[in-house]
Point group: D2
Chain length 135, copies 4
Amino acid sequence: MHEIEVYVRFSETDAAGHVNNTSYFLYMEEARTKFFNELGYGHHESLPGLNLILASTKCDYIAQSYAGQTLKVATTVSNIGNKSFTVEHLITNADSGTIIAKGTATLVSFDFEQQKTMPIPEVVRTNLEQFLQPQ
Amino acid sequence: MHEIEVYVRFSETDAAGHVNNTSYFLYMEEARTKFFNELGYGHHESLPGLNLILASTKCDYIAQSYAGQTLKVATTVSNIGNKSFTVEHLITNADSGTIIAKGTATLVSFDFEQQKTMPIPEVVRTNLEQFLQPQ
Amino acid sequence: MHEIEVYVRFSETDAAGHVNNTSYFLYMEEARTKFFNELGYGHHESLPGLNLILASTKCDYIAQSYAGQTLKVATTVSNIGNKSFTVEHLITNADSGTIIAKGTATLVSFDFEQQKTMPIPEVVRTNLEQFLQPQ
Amino acid sequence: MHEIEVYVRFSETDAAGHVNNTSYFLYMEEARTKFFNELGYGHHESLPGLNLILASTKCDYIAQSYAGQTLKVATTVSNIGNKSFTVEHLITNADSGTIIAKGTATLVSFDFEQQKTMPIPEVVRTNLEQFLQPQ
Protein backbone atom coordinates (compact mmCIF):
# COMPACT_ATOMS: atom_id res chain seq x y z
CA MET A 1 0.00 0.00 0.00
CA HIS A 2 1.16 3.49 -0.83
CA GLU A 3 -0.05 6.34 1.39
CA ILE A 4 0.01 10.12 1.28
CA GLU A 5 -1.53 12.85 3.38
CA VAL A 6 -3.23 15.91 1.90
CA TYR A 7 -4.35 19.10 3.58
CA VAL A 8 -7.85 20.26 2.60
CA ARG A 9 -7.62 23.81 1.27
CA PHE A 10 -10.41 26.31 1.75
CA SER A 11 -10.51 26.79 -2.03
CA GLU A 12 -11.28 23.07 -2.39
CA THR A 13 -14.55 23.39 -0.47
CA ASP A 14 -17.80 24.74 -1.92
CA ALA A 15 -20.85 26.70 -0.80
CA ALA A 16 -22.39 23.52 0.60
CA GLY A 17 -19.77 23.87 3.34
CA HIS A 18 -17.74 20.77 2.59
CA VAL A 19 -15.12 19.57 0.12
CA ASN A 20 -16.39 19.85 -3.46
CA ASN A 21 -16.87 16.57 -5.34
CA THR A 22 -14.28 17.57 -7.94
CA SER A 23 -11.53 18.15 -5.34
CA TYR A 24 -11.21 14.45 -4.50
CA PHE A 25 -9.90 13.90 -8.01
CA LEU A 26 -7.09 16.38 -7.23
CA TYR A 27 -6.15 14.31 -4.20
CA MET A 28 -6.25 11.06 -6.16
CA GLU A 29 -4.09 12.47 -8.97
CA GLU A 30 -1.52 13.58 -6.38
CA ALA A 31 -1.61 10.07 -4.88
CA ARG A 32 -1.04 8.40 -8.27
CA THR A 33 1.76 10.82 -9.16
CA LYS A 34 3.60 10.07 -5.92
CA PHE A 35 2.88 6.36 -6.22
CA PHE A 36 4.44 6.25 -9.69
CA ASN A 37 7.34 8.34 -8.41
CA GLU A 38 7.97 5.82 -5.66
CA LEU A 39 8.00 3.08 -8.26
CA GLY A 40 10.81 5.08 -9.89
CA TYR A 41 8.86 6.18 -12.94
CA GLY A 42 9.14 9.96 -12.70
CA HIS A 43 6.31 12.32 -12.08
CA HIS A 44 2.79 12.23 -13.47
CA GLU A 45 1.33 9.27 -15.29
CA SER A 46 4.30 8.73 -17.56
CA LEU A 47 6.95 6.10 -17.02
CA PRO A 48 10.20 6.21 -19.02
CA GLY A 49 10.03 3.40 -21.54
CA LEU A 50 6.42 3.00 -20.54
CA ASN A 51 3.89 5.72 -20.96
CA LEU A 52 0.51 5.59 -19.35
CA ILE A 53 -2.79 7.03 -20.42
CA LEU A 54 -5.49 7.59 -17.83
CA ALA A 55 -8.49 5.77 -19.28
CA SER A 56 -11.03 6.20 -16.52
CA THR A 57 -11.48 7.57 -13.00
CA LYS A 58 -14.28 7.18 -10.53
CA CYS A 59 -15.10 8.38 -7.04
CA ASP A 60 -17.70 7.11 -4.58
CA TYR A 61 -18.54 9.70 -1.94
CA ILE A 62 -19.05 8.15 1.50
CA ALA A 63 -18.77 10.93 4.09
CA GLN A 64 -18.05 14.65 4.22
CA SER A 65 -14.72 16.34 4.80
CA TYR A 66 -13.99 19.96 5.58
CA ALA A 67 -11.46 22.76 5.14
CA GLY A 68 -8.42 22.41 7.35
CA GLN A 69 -8.71 18.65 7.75
CA THR A 70 -5.95 16.26 6.81
CA LEU A 71 -6.93 13.32 4.61
CA LYS A 72 -5.06 10.11 3.98
CA VAL A 73 -5.08 8.66 0.46
CA ALA A 74 -4.07 4.99 0.37
CA THR A 75 -3.37 3.51 -3.06
CA THR A 76 -3.31 -0.15 -4.01
CA VAL A 77 -3.36 -2.05 -7.30
CA SER A 78 -6.53 -4.08 -7.74
CA ASN A 79 -5.97 -5.56 -11.17
CA ILE A 80 -3.12 -5.99 -13.66
CA GLY A 81 -4.13 -6.90 -17.19
CA ASN A 82 -2.05 -7.31 -20.31
CA LYS A 83 -2.08 -3.66 -21.37
CA SER A 84 -3.80 -1.93 -18.48
CA PHE A 85 -4.05 -1.94 -14.71
CA THR A 86 -6.38 -0.53 -12.10
CA VAL A 87 -5.55 1.30 -8.88
CA GLU A 88 -7.84 1.86 -5.90
CA HIS A 89 -7.70 4.96 -3.70
CA LEU A 90 -9.11 4.85 -0.19
CA ILE A 91 -9.53 8.34 1.25
CA THR A 92 -9.90 8.57 5.01
CA ASN A 93 -9.88 11.30 7.63
CA ALA A 94 -6.32 11.14 8.97
CA ASP A 95 -7.44 11.83 12.54
CA SER A 96 -10.57 9.74 12.94
CA GLY A 97 -9.98 7.08 10.31
CA THR A 98 -13.48 7.68 8.92
CA ILE A 99 -13.78 6.61 5.30
CA ILE A 100 -14.48 9.73 3.21
CA ALA A 101 -14.34 8.42 -0.36
CA LYS A 102 -13.25 5.52 -2.52
CA GLY A 103 -11.73 6.04 -5.93
CA THR A 104 -10.60 3.97 -8.88
CA ALA A 105 -8.38 4.74 -11.83
CA THR A 106 -7.64 2.62 -14.88
CA LEU A 107 -4.37 3.26 -16.67
CA VAL A 108 -3.37 1.96 -20.08
CA SER A 109 0.17 1.27 -21.24
CA PHE A 110 0.72 3.30 -24.39
CA ASP A 111 3.47 3.62 -26.95
CA PHE A 112 3.42 7.30 -27.90
CA GLU A 113 5.81 6.89 -30.83
CA GLN A 114 3.67 4.25 -32.47
CA GLN A 115 0.49 5.78 -31.08
CA LYS A 116 -0.99 2.51 -29.89
CA THR A 117 -1.46 0.53 -26.72
CA MET A 118 1.35 -1.80 -25.70
CA PRO A 119 1.75 -4.62 -23.16
CA ILE A 120 2.91 -3.61 -19.68
CA PRO A 121 6.68 -4.30 -19.52
CA GLU A 122 7.66 -7.15 -17.18
CA VAL A 123 9.67 -4.91 -14.85
CA VAL A 124 6.69 -2.63 -14.36
CA ARG A 125 4.38 -5.59 -13.82
CA THR A 126 6.71 -6.86 -11.09
CA ASN A 127 6.68 -3.46 -9.40
CA LEU A 128 2.92 -3.17 -9.53
CA GLU A 129 2.44 -6.68 -8.17
CA GLN A 130 3.98 -5.61 -4.87
CA PHE A 131 0.97 -3.34 -4.38
CA LEU A 132 -1.56 -5.87 -5.66
CA GLN A 133 -4.59 -6.20 -3.46
CA PRO A 134 -7.52 -7.59 -5.47
CA GLN A 135 -10.88 -6.17 -4.36
CA MET B 1 -31.39 15.67 -23.69
CA HIS B 2 -29.95 18.72 -21.96
CA GLU B 3 -26.97 20.42 -23.53
CA ILE B 4 -24.49 23.10 -22.52
CA GLU B 5 -21.31 24.48 -24.04
CA VAL B 6 -18.16 25.13 -22.04
CA TYR B 7 -15.03 27.02 -23.04
CA VAL B 8 -11.78 25.25 -22.12
CA ARG B 9 -9.68 27.57 -19.97
CA PHE B 10 -5.91 27.56 -20.11
CA SER B 11 -5.88 26.95 -16.35
CA GLU B 12 -7.84 23.73 -16.96
CA THR B 13 -5.05 22.21 -19.03
CA ASP B 14 -1.88 20.64 -17.62
CA ALA B 15 1.78 20.24 -18.52
CA ALA B 16 0.91 17.28 -20.77
CA GLY B 17 -0.52 19.95 -23.09
CA HIS B 18 -4.18 18.97 -22.91
CA VAL B 19 -7.13 19.30 -20.55
CA ASN B 20 -6.33 17.79 -17.15
CA ASN B 21 -8.36 14.72 -16.15
CA THR B 22 -9.84 16.55 -13.17
CA SER B 23 -11.23 19.41 -15.30
CA TYR B 24 -13.86 17.23 -16.94
CA PHE B 25 -15.53 16.90 -13.54
CA LEU B 26 -15.85 20.71 -13.46
CA TYR B 27 -17.66 20.61 -16.80
CA MET B 28 -19.94 17.79 -15.67
CA GLU B 29 -20.84 19.57 -12.43
CA GLU B 30 -21.75 22.68 -14.43
CA ALA B 31 -23.90 20.51 -16.72
CA ARG B 32 -25.75 18.93 -13.79
CA THR B 33 -26.27 22.29 -12.10
CA LYS B 34 -27.83 23.77 -15.22
CA PHE B 35 -29.81 20.61 -15.88
CA PHE B 36 -31.37 20.76 -12.41
CA ASN B 37 -31.97 24.48 -12.90
CA GLU B 38 -33.87 23.79 -16.09
CA LEU B 39 -35.98 21.28 -14.22
CA GLY B 40 -36.87 24.18 -11.93
CA TYR B 41 -34.96 22.94 -8.92
CA GLY B 42 -32.59 25.83 -8.23
CA HIS B 43 -28.86 25.71 -8.54
CA HIS B 44 -26.49 22.96 -7.50
CA GLU B 45 -27.53 19.46 -6.56
CA SER B 46 -30.30 20.52 -4.23
CA LEU B 47 -33.96 20.63 -5.15
CA PRO B 48 -36.44 22.42 -2.86
CA GLY B 49 -38.46 19.77 -1.13
CA LEU B 50 -36.00 17.27 -2.48
CA ASN B 51 -32.34 17.34 -1.68
CA LEU B 52 -29.79 15.36 -3.58
CA ILE B 53 -26.51 13.88 -2.53
CA LEU B 54 -23.91 13.09 -5.15
CA ALA B 55 -23.07 9.46 -4.46
CA SER B 56 -20.67 8.70 -7.25
CA THR B 57 -19.07 10.20 -10.37
CA LYS B 58 -17.06 8.63 -13.13
CA CYS B 59 -15.31 9.75 -16.29
CA ASP B 60 -14.02 7.70 -19.21
CA TYR B 61 -11.43 9.58 -21.24
CA ILE B 62 -11.77 8.98 -24.98
CA ALA B 63 -9.86 11.73 -26.78
CA GLN B 64 -7.88 14.85 -25.95
CA SER B 65 -9.15 18.39 -25.80
CA TYR B 66 -7.19 21.62 -25.65
CA ALA B 67 -7.21 25.18 -24.33
CA GLY B 68 -9.48 27.50 -26.25
CA GLN B 69 -11.75 24.76 -27.56
CA THR B 70 -15.47 24.71 -26.95
CA LEU B 71 -16.92 21.48 -25.62
CA LYS B 72 -20.53 20.33 -25.58
CA VAL B 73 -21.81 18.46 -22.53
CA ALA B 74 -25.01 16.55 -23.23
CA THR B 75 -26.83 15.16 -20.20
CA THR B 76 -29.44 12.40 -20.14
CA VAL B 77 -30.98 10.25 -17.41
CA SER B 78 -30.05 6.59 -17.76
CA ASN B 79 -31.78 5.12 -14.75
CA ILE B 80 -34.39 6.14 -12.17
CA GLY B 81 -34.59 3.99 -9.06
CA ASN B 82 -36.68 4.38 -5.95
CA LYS B 83 -34.32 6.66 -4.07
CA SER B 84 -31.61 7.39 -6.62
CA PHE B 85 -31.08 8.10 -10.28
CA THR B 86 -28.18 8.16 -12.69
CA VAL B 87 -27.26 10.74 -15.30
CA GLU B 88 -24.92 10.33 -18.25
CA HIS B 89 -22.75 13.11 -19.63
CA LEU B 90 -21.45 12.92 -23.19
CA ILE B 91 -18.66 15.43 -23.79
CA THR B 92 -17.89 16.24 -27.42
CA ASN B 93 -15.83 18.79 -29.30
CA ALA B 94 -18.44 21.38 -30.29
CA ASP B 95 -16.83 21.96 -33.68
CA SER B 96 -15.86 18.50 -34.87
CA GLY B 97 -18.33 16.41 -32.89
CA THR B 98 -15.48 14.13 -31.74
CA ILE B 99 -16.32 12.32 -28.50
CA ILE B 100 -13.90 13.53 -25.83
CA ALA B 101 -15.22 11.88 -22.67
CA LYS B 102 -18.17 10.06 -21.16
CA GLY B 103 -19.27 10.64 -17.60
CA THR B 104 -21.76 9.24 -15.14
CA ALA B 105 -23.16 10.58 -11.89
CA THR B 106 -25.42 8.87 -9.39
CA LEU B 107 -27.54 11.10 -7.18
CA VAL B 108 -29.46 10.02 -4.11
CA SER B 109 -32.63 11.66 -2.81
CA PHE B 110 -31.95 12.69 0.77
CA ASP B 111 -34.02 14.15 3.59
CA PHE B 112 -31.59 16.46 5.36
CA GLU B 113 -33.91 17.09 8.32
CA GLN B 114 -34.26 13.41 9.09
CA GLN B 115 -30.74 12.69 7.79
CA LYS B 116 -31.77 9.69 5.73
CA THR B 117 -32.43 8.73 2.15
CA MET B 118 -35.98 9.22 0.88
CA PRO B 119 -37.93 8.12 -2.21
CA ILE B 120 -37.77 10.44 -5.22
CA PRO B 121 -41.01 12.51 -5.19
CA GLU B 122 -43.43 11.71 -8.03
CA VAL B 123 -43.18 15.20 -9.56
CA VAL B 124 -39.41 14.92 -9.79
CA ARG B 125 -39.65 11.42 -11.22
CA THR B 126 -41.96 12.74 -13.95
CA ASN B 127 -39.50 15.51 -14.77
CA LEU B 128 -36.56 13.14 -14.92
CA GLU B 129 -38.44 10.68 -17.14
CA GLN B 130 -38.53 13.27 -19.91
CA PHE B 131 -34.77 12.95 -20.15
CA LEU B 132 -34.69 9.17 -19.74
CA GLN B 133 -32.50 7.42 -22.25
CA PRO B 134 -31.47 4.01 -20.89
CA GLN B 135 -27.96 2.96 -21.94
CA MET C 1 -13.29 47.53 -24.31
CA HIS C 2 -13.37 43.76 -24.58
CA GLU C 3 -16.10 41.92 -22.70
CA ILE C 4 -16.89 38.30 -21.84
CA GLU C 5 -19.46 36.61 -19.68
CA VAL C 6 -18.64 33.78 -17.29
CA TYR C 7 -20.96 31.45 -15.42
CA VAL C 8 -20.05 30.94 -11.76
CA ARG C 9 -19.59 27.22 -11.11
CA PHE C 10 -20.47 25.66 -7.80
CA SER C 11 -16.91 24.31 -7.62
CA GLU C 12 -15.64 27.90 -7.77
CA THR C 13 -17.36 28.83 -4.51
CA ASP C 14 -16.08 27.97 -1.05
CA ALA C 15 -17.42 27.11 2.40
CA ALA C 16 -17.94 30.81 3.14
CA GLY C 17 -20.86 30.52 0.68
CA HIS C 18 -19.52 32.78 -2.05
CA VAL C 19 -17.01 32.69 -4.88
CA ASN C 20 -13.53 31.87 -3.60
CA ASN C 21 -10.91 34.60 -3.92
CA THR C 22 -8.78 32.41 -6.21
CA SER C 23 -11.61 31.88 -8.73
CA TYR C 24 -11.58 35.48 -9.93
CA PHE C 25 -8.13 34.84 -11.36
CA LEU C 26 -9.64 32.03 -13.47
CA TYR C 27 -12.16 34.50 -14.88
CA MET C 28 -9.49 37.10 -15.58
CA GLU C 29 -7.24 34.57 -17.34
CA GLU C 30 -10.18 33.56 -19.55
CA ALA C 31 -10.80 37.25 -20.31
CA ARG C 32 -7.17 37.86 -21.29
CA THR C 33 -7.05 34.72 -23.43
CA LYS C 34 -10.13 35.79 -25.38
CA PHE C 35 -8.92 39.36 -25.58
CA PHE C 36 -5.63 38.25 -27.15
CA ASN C 37 -7.56 35.92 -29.47
CA GLU C 38 -9.66 38.82 -30.66
CA LEU C 39 -6.48 40.74 -31.37
CA GLY C 40 -5.57 37.81 -33.60
CA TYR C 41 -2.75 36.48 -31.47
CA GLY C 42 -3.90 32.92 -30.79
CA HIS C 43 -4.86 31.51 -27.45
CA HIS C 44 -3.28 32.12 -24.07
CA GLU C 45 -0.72 34.77 -23.33
CA SER C 46 1.44 34.04 -26.36
CA LEU C 47 1.32 35.97 -29.59
CA PRO C 48 3.04 34.61 -32.72
CA GLY C 49 6.10 36.72 -33.31
CA LEU C 50 5.49 38.18 -29.88
CA ASN C 51 5.44 36.13 -26.75
CA LEU C 52 4.13 37.42 -23.51
CA ILE C 53 5.04 36.60 -19.96
CA LEU C 54 2.58 37.35 -17.21
CA ALA C 55 4.62 39.41 -14.76
CA SER C 56 2.00 40.27 -12.17
CA THR C 57 -1.70 39.93 -11.38
CA LYS C 58 -3.84 41.59 -8.74
CA CYS C 59 -7.45 41.49 -7.64
CA ASP C 60 -9.37 43.90 -5.42
CA TYR C 61 -12.49 42.30 -3.97
CA ILE C 62 -15.42 44.72 -3.83
CA ALA C 63 -18.61 42.64 -3.41
CA GLN C 64 -19.65 39.00 -3.19
CA SER C 65 -20.80 36.78 -6.02
CA TYR C 66 -22.47 33.39 -5.85
CA ALA C 67 -22.86 30.06 -7.63
CA GLY C 68 -25.11 30.21 -10.67
CA GLN C 69 -24.60 33.91 -11.29
CA THR C 70 -23.30 35.29 -14.55
CA LEU C 71 -20.42 37.74 -14.33
CA LYS C 72 -19.17 40.16 -16.92
CA VAL C 73 -15.42 40.68 -17.26
CA ALA C 74 -14.54 43.88 -19.14
CA THR C 75 -10.92 44.28 -20.19
CA THR C 76 -9.13 47.47 -21.16
CA VAL C 77 -5.48 48.46 -21.58
CA SER C 78 -4.38 51.02 -19.01
CA ASN C 79 -0.74 51.45 -19.92
CA ILE C 80 1.59 50.57 -22.79
CA GLY C 81 5.29 50.80 -22.06
CA ASN C 82 8.29 49.93 -24.20
CA LYS C 83 8.46 46.24 -23.28
CA SER C 84 5.35 45.73 -21.16
CA PHE C 85 1.71 46.73 -20.90
CA THR C 86 -0.99 46.58 -18.28
CA VAL C 87 -4.60 45.46 -18.63
CA GLU C 88 -7.48 46.19 -16.27
CA HIS C 89 -10.36 43.77 -15.64
CA LEU C 90 -13.64 45.07 -14.29
CA ILE C 91 -15.83 42.22 -13.02
CA THR C 92 -19.52 43.02 -12.60
CA ASN C 93 -22.69 41.07 -11.95
CA ALA C 94 -24.18 40.71 -15.43
CA ASP C 95 -27.74 41.18 -14.16
CA SER C 96 -27.44 43.98 -11.61
CA GLY C 97 -24.29 45.69 -12.85
CA THR C 98 -22.87 45.64 -9.32
CA ILE C 99 -19.08 45.83 -9.30
CA ILE C 100 -17.74 42.57 -7.87
CA ALA C 101 -13.99 42.88 -8.35
CA LYS C 102 -11.27 44.83 -10.12
CA GLY C 103 -8.18 43.16 -11.47
CA THR C 104 -4.92 44.14 -13.08
CA ALA C 105 -2.37 42.16 -15.07
CA THR C 106 1.02 43.25 -16.32
CA LEU C 107 2.42 41.42 -19.33
CA VAL C 108 5.95 41.59 -20.64
CA SER C 109 7.01 41.11 -24.24
CA PHE C 110 9.54 38.29 -24.29
CA ASP C 111 11.79 36.72 -26.91
CA PHE C 112 11.82 33.04 -25.95
CA GLU C 113 14.59 32.13 -28.38
CA GLN C 114 16.95 34.70 -26.97
CA GLN C 115 15.45 34.37 -23.50
CA LYS C 116 15.17 38.06 -22.88
CA THR C 117 12.60 40.83 -22.87
CA MET C 118 11.99 42.62 -26.15
CA PRO C 119 10.18 45.81 -27.23
CA ILE C 120 6.49 45.44 -28.08
CA PRO C 121 6.25 45.26 -31.91
CA GLU C 122 4.59 48.26 -33.53
CA VAL C 123 1.68 46.25 -34.94
CA VAL C 124 0.85 44.93 -31.48
CA ARG C 125 1.17 48.38 -29.96
CA THR C 126 -1.32 49.69 -32.52
CA ASN C 127 -3.75 46.91 -31.66
CA LEU C 128 -3.46 47.50 -27.95
CA GLU C 129 -3.92 51.25 -28.33
CA GLN C 130 -7.47 50.67 -29.55
CA PHE C 131 -8.31 49.38 -26.08
CA LEU C 132 -6.30 52.01 -24.23
CA GLN C 133 -8.17 53.60 -21.38
CA PRO C 134 -5.71 55.09 -18.88
CA GLN C 135 -6.89 54.85 -15.25
CA MET D 1 8.02 34.37 9.85
CA HIS D 2 5.54 31.62 9.20
CA GLU D 3 6.47 28.91 6.71
CA ILE D 4 4.71 26.05 4.95
CA GLU D 5 5.66 23.65 2.21
CA VAL D 6 3.36 22.78 -0.68
CA TYR D 7 3.67 20.03 -3.25
CA VAL D 8 3.00 21.16 -6.84
CA ARG D 9 0.24 19.00 -8.30
CA PHE D 10 0.13 18.10 -11.97
CA SER D 11 -3.37 19.59 -12.14
CA GLU D 12 -1.90 22.92 -11.01
CA THR D 13 0.30 23.19 -14.10
CA ASP D 14 -0.90 24.26 -17.54
CA ALA D 15 -0.16 23.58 -21.19
CA ALA D 16 2.76 26.01 -21.08
CA GLY D 17 4.47 23.27 -19.06
CA HIS D 18 4.76 25.10 -15.75
CA VAL D 19 2.59 26.05 -12.80
CA ASN D 20 -0.41 28.11 -13.91
CA ASN D 21 -0.52 31.71 -12.68
CA THR D 22 -3.76 31.07 -10.79
CA SER D 23 -2.28 28.19 -8.76
CA TYR D 24 0.01 30.46 -6.74
CA PHE D 25 -3.10 32.00 -5.19
CA LEU D 26 -4.06 28.51 -3.95
CA TYR D 27 -0.69 28.21 -2.25
CA MET D 28 -0.96 31.67 -0.70
CA GLU D 29 -4.48 31.00 0.62
CA GLU D 30 -3.21 27.79 2.23
CA ALA D 31 -0.34 29.78 3.79
CA ARG D 32 -2.70 32.43 5.22
CA THR D 33 -5.09 29.79 6.55
CA LYS D 34 -2.31 28.01 8.40
CA PHE D 35 -0.79 31.29 9.56
CA PHE D 36 -4.11 32.35 11.11
CA ASN D 37 -4.47 28.87 12.61
CA GLU D 38 -1.10 29.18 14.26
CA LEU D 39 -2.20 32.51 15.70
CA GLY D 40 -5.04 30.57 17.27
CA TYR D 41 -7.80 32.04 15.15
CA GLY D 42 -9.31 28.94 13.56
CA HIS D 43 -9.29 28.08 9.92
CA HIS D 44 -9.70 30.36 6.94
CA GLU D 45 -9.67 34.11 7.13
CA SER D 46 -12.05 34.35 10.08
CA LEU D 47 -10.98 34.89 13.65
CA PRO D 48 -13.47 34.35 16.50
CA GLY D 49 -14.37 37.76 17.85
CA LEU D 50 -12.60 39.20 14.85
CA ASN D 51 -13.62 38.45 11.31
CA LEU D 52 -11.49 39.23 8.35
CA ILE D 53 -12.37 40.09 4.80
CA LEU D 54 -9.81 39.58 2.07
CA ALA D 55 -9.70 42.98 0.38
CA SER D 56 -6.96 42.43 -2.17
CA THR D 57 -4.39 39.90 -3.35
CA LYS D 58 -1.47 40.23 -5.71
CA CYS D 59 1.22 38.00 -7.14
CA ASP D 60 4.45 38.92 -8.91
CA TYR D 61 5.81 36.04 -10.98
CA ILE D 62 9.60 35.79 -10.81
CA ALA D 63 10.57 32.30 -12.02
CA GLN D 64 8.93 29.09 -13.17
CA SER D 65 8.00 26.10 -11.07
CA TYR D 66 6.99 22.64 -12.21
CA ALA D 67 4.88 19.62 -11.31
CA GLY D 68 6.34 17.49 -8.54
CA GLN D 69 8.40 20.29 -7.02
CA THR D 70 8.05 21.37 -3.41
CA LEU D 71 7.62 25.07 -2.78
CA LYS D 72 8.07 27.00 0.43
CA VAL D 73 5.64 29.80 1.23
CA ALA D 74 6.97 32.19 3.88
CA THR D 75 4.47 34.66 5.33
CA THR D 76 5.23 37.87 7.18
CA VAL D 77 3.19 40.92 8.16
CA SER D 78 4.34 44.07 6.38
CA ASN D 79 1.87 46.60 7.70
CA ILE D 80 -0.69 46.87 10.50
CA GLY D 81 -3.17 49.71 10.19
CA ASN D 82 -6.15 50.62 12.34
CA LYS D 83 -8.67 48.36 10.60
CA SER D 84 -6.56 46.42 8.13
CA PHE D 85 -3.21 44.72 7.78
CA THR D 86 -1.08 43.40 4.96
CA VAL D 87 0.78 40.11 4.68
CA GLU D 88 3.60 39.25 2.30
CA HIS D 89 4.15 35.76 0.87
CA LEU D 90 7.56 34.77 -0.46
CA ILE D 91 7.37 31.60 -2.55
CA THR D 92 10.65 29.79 -3.12
CA ASN D 93 11.74 26.45 -4.52
CA ALA D 94 12.27 24.37 -1.36
CA ASP D 95 15.31 22.61 -2.81
CA SER D 96 17.22 25.36 -4.58
CA GLY D 97 15.95 28.38 -2.69
CA THR D 98 15.18 30.15 -5.99
CA ILE D 99 12.54 32.84 -5.60
CA ILE D 100 9.49 31.79 -7.63
CA ALA D 101 6.90 34.41 -6.74
CA LYS D 102 6.06 37.18 -4.32
CA GLY D 103 2.54 37.77 -3.10
CA THR D 104 0.64 40.28 -1.02
CA ALA D 105 -2.74 40.13 0.68
CA THR D 106 -4.61 42.89 2.46
CA LEU D 107 -7.15 41.84 5.09
CA VAL D 108 -9.75 44.05 6.71
CA SER D 109 -11.18 43.58 10.19
CA PHE D 110 -14.94 43.31 9.81
CA ASP D 111 -17.88 43.12 12.19
CA PHE D 112 -20.31 40.80 10.42
CA GLU D 113 -23.17 41.48 12.83
CA GLN D 114 -23.03 45.21 12.29
CA GLN D 115 -21.83 44.76 8.71
CA LYS D 116 -19.05 47.30 8.94
CA THR D 117 -15.31 47.50 9.33
CA MET D 118 -13.96 47.56 12.87
CA PRO D 119 -10.59 48.29 14.48
CA ILE D 120 -8.22 45.34 14.87
CA PRO D 121 -8.54 44.15 18.51
CA GLU D 122 -5.44 44.77 20.65
CA VAL D 123 -4.79 41.05 21.24
CA VAL D 124 -4.76 40.37 17.52
CA ARG D 125 -2.52 43.36 16.90
CA THR D 126 -0.05 42.01 19.45
CA ASN D 127 -0.06 38.62 17.72
CA LEU D 128 0.46 40.11 14.29
CA GLU D 129 3.30 42.33 15.51
CA GLN D 130 5.39 39.24 16.22
CA PHE D 131 5.45 38.61 12.49
CA LEU D 132 5.94 42.25 11.50
CA GLN D 133 8.64 42.77 8.93
CA PRO D 134 8.08 46.06 7.11
CA GLN D 135 9.11 45.96 3.43
